[in-house]
Symmetry: none
Subunit: 218 residues, 4 copies
Amino acid sequence: MGERRRDAKTSRQALLAAGRAVFAAKGFAGSRVEAIARRAGLNKQLVYHYFGSKDGLYQAVLEQAYADIRAREQALVLADLPPELALRELVLFSFDYLRDHPHFIALLNDENLCGAQHVRRSRELTDMHAPLIALIDRTLRAGAAGGCFRHDIDPLQLYISIAALPYFYFSNTATLSAIFRRDLRAPAEIAARRRHVLEFVMAAVRSERQAAVQERAA
Amino acid sequence: MGERRRDAKTSRQALLAAGRAVFAAKGFAGSRVEAIARRAGLNKQLVYHYFGSKDGLYQAVLEQAYADIRAREQALVLADLPPELALRELVLFSFDYLRDHPHFIALLNDENLCGAQHVRRSRELTDMHAPLIALIDRTLRAGAAGGCFRHDIDPLQLYISIAALPYFYFSNTATLSAIFRRDLRAPAEIAARRRHVLEFVMAAVRSERQAAVQERAA
Amino acid sequence: MGERRRDAKTSRQALLAAGRAVFAAKGFAGSRVEAIARRAGLNKQLVYHYFGSKDGLYQAVLEQAYADIRAREQALVLADLPPELALRELVLFSFDYLRDHPHFIALLNDENLCGAQHVRRSRELTDMHAPLIALIDRTLRAGAAGGCFRHDIDPLQLYISIAALPYFYFSNTATLSAIFRRDLRAPAEIAARRRHVLEFVMAAVRSERQAAVQERAA
Amino acid sequence: MGERRRDAKTSRQALLAAGRAVFAAKGFAGSRVEAIARRAGLNKQLVYHYFGSKDGLYQAVLEQAYADIRAREQALVLADLPPELALRELVLFSFDYLRDHPHFIALLNDENLCGAQHVRRSRELTDMHAPLIALIDRTLRAGAAGGCFRHDIDPLQLYISIAALPYFYFSNTATLSAIFRRDLRAPAEIAARRRHVLEFVMAAVRSERQAAVQERAA
DNA sequence: AATGAATGAGTTTTCATTCAT
DNA sequence: TATGAATGAAAACTCATTCAT
C-alpha cells in the first residue's frame, strides 16, 4: 500500500480504471466523482489534478478504451491471409473483444447519448479508424477478385454490421434475456451466438458462384 | 380562459411526451425535471402531481413506449406471405421502427444499463415476444422446405440479428459519424443502410441452391 | 416573519441588501454566498434562483447602487441655479453621498480591482453618465460666460476631481487615520473635510477676475 | 546546473515581486498561491518555505511597498525651493508615484477594506508621515507670507487632496473608462489628467492677490 | 534548497422535491 | 387543477496547505 502512494503514473492509472468501471456501470451523468476516487483508493481532488474535470476523466477513459481496441486490431495481422480467412478473423475478433469488454459497450452507449461530444473533441479518436476501413476494403476487393465474395459490398456498411451483430447482443443481453426468458449470459448461449454471427456474416458476403460451388460439393 | 384551462389528460400526455423525449436524449440521470416540464409547457410541480416523482414519470414513459411497439408488431400480418416476402417485411419493419423511434433505443439502452429491472418486473412485456419467435420459426421452416432458405438458422438468433443491424446503426450514429467523418444521420445514408441491411439478411439466410439459381440467372 | 416569506420581491430585495453589505465588507472574492443568504434570512439557493450566480448578484448589487446615485443626482435640480450655486450643490451632494454610502465606495474599489468587468457588461450603467457630464459642461460654460469661472476647465476632469476629493478621504479613512494618528471618522473631522473640499473646488475653478473682485471686496 | 540552482535571496525576491503583482491585481482573497508561484517561475511550496503562509507573504509584500514609497519621499528635497515650486514638485511627485505604482494603490485599497490592520500594527509606518505634514505646513506658511498662497489652508487637508486627485483617477480608471467610454489608461489621457491636477491644486491654493496679478498680466 | 504528490476543508452550484395558495 | 416560492441534500470543483523525498 505504502508503495502504491506517491506515484503519479500509478494514481492516474488507478483513476482511469475506476472511472472506466463506474462510468460503464452508471453512465456519465449517473457517476459520482467521489465514487470513482473512492474506488481508486484516492481522493477526489486528484481527479481534478490529473484530468481537470469529470468530463476530462471521461474523455481520457474513452480514449484509453478506443486506444486499446485499436491496438488489438492492429495486432491482428490480416493482410497476408486469404480473404475469407481474414474476414473470419475480423468477425471473431470483434465478437470476442465486445464479449470481453462490456464496459466498452457501456461507454459507447453513453457517449452516443450525448451526441459523441467527447469523441468529436478528440482528434486522436477520429484519426484512428480510417486504416480499418481501408483494410476491409482491400480484403473485400481481393475476395471479389478471387470469386469468393460478392462485388457490391460497401466496406463501411460491412464494418458496421460486423460490429452490430455482437454489440447488440451484449449491449441488450439484459432485456433480451428477460423478454425471451433465456439467460443469454450463459457461456453456451454466447458460444451459440458466436457461431451464428460468424456464419451469418460469411454467408452474407459469399458470392453466388461460391455458394453454388459449395452446393455442388455438398 | 378556456385556453388556459387544460384538462388533466392533455397535461399528463404532454408530460409523458416531453419525458420520453428528454429521457431519450439525456438518459434518466442526465434529465432534469425542470427541462421536461418546460418542454411540456407546464409547471414543474405537475410532474409530482401526476407521477409522484421523476422515477414515476420514467416508469410511465417506459410502459407507454413498450405498449406502442407491441401494438405495431401485432398489426404486422406476415403469416400469409411467402417466406421470402415475410422475412423481407419483418426486416424492413424493424429497420423503419427503430429509425422512426430513436427514443425507444435510448430507453432500451438505459434499461439495459440497470439490468432490465423495469422490463423484468412486467409480465406483459415478457409475454409478448414468444409469438414473434414462433412466427419467425414458421417462416424459416417454410422457406427451408421451399428450398430458398438455409436449414440451419436459429429463429431467436435471426431475430436478434435482424434487430441488431439497424439498432446498432441508430444507437451509435453519433460515434460512428464522428469516427468515420460521415454524417450517418443524412437521409441518403440511412437509405443506403436500409438497402444494405435488407440485402445482408436475405443473403445470409439464402440457401446455396437458391444462390446458384440466382447465379445462373445472372 | 411569516409575512415576509413567500414574497419574491421582498426576498430579492433582502438578498440585494445583504449582498451589498457583505460584498462591501469583504470584497467579491472574500464574500461567501452562504453568508449573504444567511444575512438575508433566506437560504443560499435563492441567490441562484433570483440572480443566477454569485456574479449575477454582484452585478445586480452594483446596478442598484449606481441606479441609486443616479436617481439622486437627477433629483438635484441644478439647471436653473446660477453657475456658482449649481457647482456648489454638486460638490456638496457628491461629498454627502459618499459619506452616507460607504458600501458604494467599497463596491467600486472591488469592481476596479477586476477591471470593471461587471460595469462593462451592463449597458444600463454605461448609458447613464453622459447627462451628468453634459450638465457640468453647461454649468462651466455659463460660469465662464458670466466671468466667474475659468475658461479652460474640462468637465470630465472636473467631475473626476469633485468625486476624488471626498472619495479618497472616505475610501482611505482607515489608513489615513492610522498614519496621521487622527480619527478621521469623527464628525468634526468629516465636517472640516467637507468645508475644505467645497472651498478647494470653488477656488480651483474661480476665474482670476472673480478672484480679484473678491480681493477688492476683502 | 548553475542556472537551476538559484540562491535563496533571488527566490524570495521573485516571490515578493510576484506576490505584489498578483495581490494588487486580484486582492488578497482573490489571489491564488499557485498563481503567485507560477508567476515567480517557482514552486508553490516555496511560498510556505519562505513566508510560512499566504498571509505571511502578503505581510511581507505590504512592508516592502511601504518601505519603497517612504524611501522615495525622503529623497525629495523640497525645503530649499520657493513655495510654489515646492508645492508643484510635491503634486507631481504624488501623481507620478501613483501612476508608476498601481500595485501600491491596490494594496492600500485592500488594506482599507480590513480596517488598516497591518498599517496600524506597524510603528514605523505611523512614524513616517509627520515630517511630510510638517514640510507642507512650512511651505504653506512661506507661501502665505510671500502673498502667493491663501492663508486658510490646512496642511493635512491639502496633503489628502494632493493624494486624492491622482489616487482616485488611477484607482478607478477601469470604471471611469467604462462609464465615460474613454480609455483613461491612454498616455495622452494620463498626461491631460496630470496637467489638470497640477493646475487644479495650484489654483486652489493661490491667493486672490496673486490671482489678480495674473489677471492683469494676461 | 527545492519539488511532485496528495489532501481536508470549504465554495459555488445543481436539482429533486415540498410548501402555501 | 395549477403555480410561484422555497429548501435540503448532494453534486462538481477549488484552494491553502502538508507529506515525502
